[in-house]
């Protein structure tokens, strides 16, 4: 593992093995935090934005480090971003059309 710290960008720009382990620990900790937030009644009022931020953080970490977007061509980030933007638009449009926004669903 000692050599890992010097291999921040090897084999086509992928992260070191130690980085993968650190990201996995962070992902596990965020998941524990999410579940903890779910069970704390005191923060019911802000649970939606808190959980969305935590979920987005996990999404970004997996995409950047495990899927190597941080080290790969920006073209791939654009391809994923286009898909995500359209998906978000689909979700908001359907929820708006069905009156779900503001009804308490999200």
């Amino acid at each position: 593992m000692a050599e890992d710290s010097t291999l921040e960008a090897h084999e086509g720009g992928h992260a070191a093995r130690s980085t993968y382990w650190i990201i996995a620990v962070v992902l596990a900790m965020i998941t524990v935090l999410e579940v903890a937030v779910f069970y704390v009644p005191a923060i019911r009022g802000v649970i939606v934005p808190v959980l969305l931020v935590l979920s987005a953080a996990k999404f970004v970490l997996v995409a950047m480090f495990f899927m190597h977007l941080k080290y790969d061509s920006p073209v791939l980030t654009v391809v994923l971003s286009v898909g995500l933007v359209v998906a978000t638009a689909i979700i908001l449009a359907i929820m708006f059309l069905f009156g779900a926004i503001g009804r308490g669903t999200i």
């Binding site: 992928h14 993968y20 998941t31 999410e34 979920s55 996990k58 999404f59 791939l76 994923l80 979700i91």
Partner: protein
Amino acid sequence: MTTDAHATSFGLPHRKLAMWVFIGSECMFFGSLIATYLAYEDRSLVGPMPAEILNIPLTSVSTFVLLMSSLAMVLFLDGVQRNARTAARAWNAAVIGLGVLFLAGQVYEFRHFYHEGLTLQQNLFGATFFVLTGFHGAHVTVGVIWMTALLVLQFLGRLGPERSLDVEVAGLYWHFVDVVWIVIFTLIYLIQ
């Protein structure tokens, strides 16, 4: 075949770019299913309702299992790139094992819901929940089959560093299945 073979005008391998385009289209597919679930989840006329039946502790463990399978996947790719055959086989076996464990949890959950009276036809919650999580489970199943095929190639000695792109493309698919579950876990299970 090398990892640089058949590069696109972007300088990227065709298969890698194709997988990312596929992932982009899958975002829209799962976005539609998630939107349908959110639009209908509290419009059921009869129970069971989400708050009555969703098992957060079980799903939290399933989420952890899938996250750790993503770690195993990158270490599998790392092993193939370094030509560390034993490590690569072990990590691929871990990916398969964790994937099967996740699917077992989903089968248990579906059976439990069925016995509690929640079916595909019971109400809008059941219809949208089973379609969304069922499609995700189908994706995990495809991933497990894909990884198993790669494990066979490993034992045949046909998955060396020169074919690491094969593993990288499979890994992109596996990680995407993981990030979809990250979203599902939050929107369907935790935000009720």
